[in-house]
Point group: C2
Chain length 493, copies 2
């Protein structure tokens, strides 16, 4: 039996962990900082992958696969890059275990004879190895643009981990492209940010702010980084995807050059962009409630759960047969449908379980419904019930799922709007940043020192300089210097 | 410009490498023993994944994801298992790089302060970590069977590597299941072997021998191992997939227990089974020819390449428009179709390139074809041409692709039949094993010593004891003891 979920009001952080674990998305593993993604969670990730992969292919990208290991010297070639990753990486130093006796007990130790000439780093990201290969493949402007994506696992040594949100190993995709001109690279960087924003809003039902990161917050090695930022229910921000214009930094480090139409050699222009399993955590935190997960219909592995209701033995067969027919019809209409005809579990317990797992729509089917030629549909979001005539089953279920998807986005958007506020002074920011939190729009002079001071004193960071933030004259809340635009400050995951 | 392919007759091994590299399936990477899977190769793997994944789901399995790292102590828990993998594993010992000055130059070394308390092994396979998790999830017979699959990368430190066939890192799927009875586990082990055999034969067009491995050749930690074995064009065998009945070995090592219906605690019964990117190599070696790759239509990323042929400028537009129409129709019919309308490349050069890439069907479309209301279809396998009236385009292309798929399998089957021979003595085996090679069916007493002697003296191994090998009284070709069945001996990749 599942233990009960800690209410959000009591402990938001425990509520989140309860949802992930009791909702069977993931579990802790015996490997420090690493989690296990359970079938229900992996099925959500697979749905996310399928949609994103299609979007990447539609924008001309092809998948490939590059080595897990990065030679230490490769990581070191781009100065900012290595600075960003050297302190949190898994280092492979040996290739063989040998048995030795320690205090009379047989134990395995790395065989000193197998020490590697050069240590290998488990990829924290793959810019270095990928651009080294691009340098081999690209000779002419005719070889450009080169548009590659990789689905892979990466490792960043994390001290404080949280299921999905921050784990030592995580799954992601990383796009890597090479272009003949700076303009094309910039266009690509923005195009992929758009893909992420579209995916987040239309599939995950998570409204996002699109913008550019400050110098301090950009990717290690990038010229500039764009991002989409979401706001969770506890009014903390979560970075939901990043797209980096790498300029020629990596092309120079890895000698990635091409001959242009005039026959001259130039360095290529690169972009990279990534989206990870972290976003499963965002899904949980954005939509979940005290009853469990709430998954958007477009990403839910199970969209409809049918619970037949019977009393005694006689009607069971008839009810279950009718439920099976409903299932068959909905599967034929393209939905993923579970029929819960378990014996020995009460309908109430079944409702509870499917709610916990976040199934968007429940269909109850009892003798009375059947007699009336209808089924009872219950929305996961607000438990609203609607009797649907069997004759209109497919279009009504389709409409209900669309409605749930839309309402989930609208609810998240309303929450974000309520938690987005302009603040006019540093004191005001300090007064609000912990509670109620949210996006605090404040003037900032552009100086990293002011940004750093806010972070040190309040733990808030500039999440981004939003594209759609209007120009507005003001004074930096920290130093009072001129500012032309407000930044999005927030405490973030 | 691609360099030319080494003919098989000249150097089979170089021919293979040429096909992989020039056919753009994969490339060498700067990381020792690791390769890069290029988009064309990855697209083949994606098609293989899609089909296998569907077959796994149809047989009740669900995907999940487990950590990349395995604590050293976990690997050590099953004695045979660690014996099999300890000598070829990547060992993570540190989590941070630090800069030091060596001979006045700044260099990065593992920070001794970051030495791990317990070393982590990059998974060579995941039995240990997965069954440790199963032990947490399984309490009752009601939790069984537990049927899980994982798509992942694994690492086995290899000294002598070959693209796809033997690389330090490779991609695969590994199925892991737990059952309440020995009989169910055995049934599952055989079921998944059947899935592999069906996939190999029906999709890869590779005939396989199904059988059981000898004790000496079984998986480290298994009770017994089943396998499918294929024969390459050079008459060497290649293990194409394995399915292991693990008995209760891992359940005991990881305390994986359940309460049976009588309330007693029992250890569960496990199976595991795997299929890897190695099989892309098998595809190359089974079907390729001196002109390049030959991909079976059911796994080819591009099934049809259309080459419009024009002379001068005037008809180009008309021809390309007609070619585009052919493409549109074939895409609508469910095929993957490339239209090669590049300027400045001769039709001959285009033919050469699509042949190199293994595209099963080429469609040539010139003014004469167009005038006759037809296109010319050319089969990759034997370059046979067939004029197809535009009115019958879809059904004829479908039929041609089916025909190619069938003929590829039949050709491979005939080759294997010609290279499978019963030998009556050890001398005869020795005389044939290097040339012409192939499967040599010989009596064997079941003794590991005889098997070992053959391997030492000839490098041949017993690939399997085939299920469909008839009972037959005979004498072991090594020791002369009684034998009830012939074994499949071969030199293998």
């Amino acid at each position: 039996m599942a233990k009960s979920i800690t209410p959000r009001a009591e402990d938001y952080s425990r509520w989140y962990t309860d949802l992930v674990v009791e909702g069977r998305l993931a579990d802790y593993s015996p490997v420090k900082g690493c989690m296990v993604i359970r079938p229900h969670g992996y099925a959500v990730w697979e749905k996310m992958q399928r949609v994103l992969d299609r979007m990447f292919k539609e924008t001309g990208h092809r998948n490939a696969y590059f080595p897990l290991f990065i030679p230490k010297s490769f990581l070191a070639k781009e100065a900012e890059h290595v600075e960003g990753f050297a302190k949190e990486c898994a280092i492979v130093t040996h290739s063989r275990l040998m048995a030795v006796e320690v205090d009379g007990r047989r134990t395995l130790v790395p065989d000193p004879q197998s020490a590697l000439e050069e240590e290998l780093i488990v990829r924290p990201t793959s810019e270095t190895i990928i651009y080294a290969m691009f340098a081999k493949w690209v000779q002419s402007y005719r070889d450009l643009p080169l548009l590659i994506n990789q689905w892979a696992n990466v490792v960043r040594w994390e001290m404080r981990t949280r299921l999905f949100l921050r784990t030592t190993e995580f799954l992601w995709q990383e796009g890597h492209t090479a272009h003949a001109t700076a303009a094309e690279a910039e266009e690509e960087t923005r195009r992929m940010l758009d893909v992420y924003a579209t995916f987040a809003q239309e599939y995950m039902a998570i409204p996002v702010v699109q913008g550019i990161k400050t110098e301090r917050e950009k990717f290690a090695g990038a010229q500039h980084t764009y991002c989409i930022e979401a706001l969770m229910q506890d009014n903390r921000a979560l970075q939901a995807g990043t797209s980096h214009n790498l300029g020629q930094n990596f092309a120079r480090a890895f000698d990635l050059k091409f001959q242009n139409e005039s026959g001259e050699w130039e360095h290529a222009w690169n972009t990279s962009w990534g989206f990870s399993t972290r976003m499963v955590g965002a899904l949980v935190m954005t939509h979940g409630d005290d009853g469990g997960l709430v998954l958007p219909p477009r990403l839910a592995p199970i969209q409809v759960a049918i619970v037949p209701i019977w009393r005694g033995d006689d009607p069971r067969e008839r009810i279950v047969a009718a439920a099976r027919d409903v299932q068959r019809r909905l599967v034929a209409a393209g939905h993923e449908v579970e029929l819960d005809d378990r014996d020995g579990v009460t309908p109430g317990a079944k409702y509870h379980e499917w709610e916990l797992l976040g199934v968007p729509l429940r269909i109850e089917l009892g003798p009375k419904d059947l007699a009336g030629g209808a089924v009872m549909c219950v929305k996961r979001t607000n438990r609203a019930k609607r009797s649907v005539p069997l004759a209109e089953l497919e279009p009504q279920v389709r409409a209900l799922l669309d409605e749930i998807q839309r309402e989930m986005f609208e609810a998240a958007l309303a929450r974000r709007a309520a938690a987005t506020l302009a603040v006019e002074s540093y004191d005001e920011l300090k007064a609000r940043i912990d509670s109620p939190g949210g996006f605090l729009l404040a003037h900032w002079c552009g100086n990293a020192a002011c940004e750093g001071r806010v972070q040190e004193e309040t733990k808030a960071t500039i999440r981004c300089l939003a594209f759609d933030q209007p120009d507005e004259r003001g004074r930096c809340i920290v130093c009072g210097e001129a500012s032309g635009k407000r930044a999005h400050f927030a405490k973030a995951y």
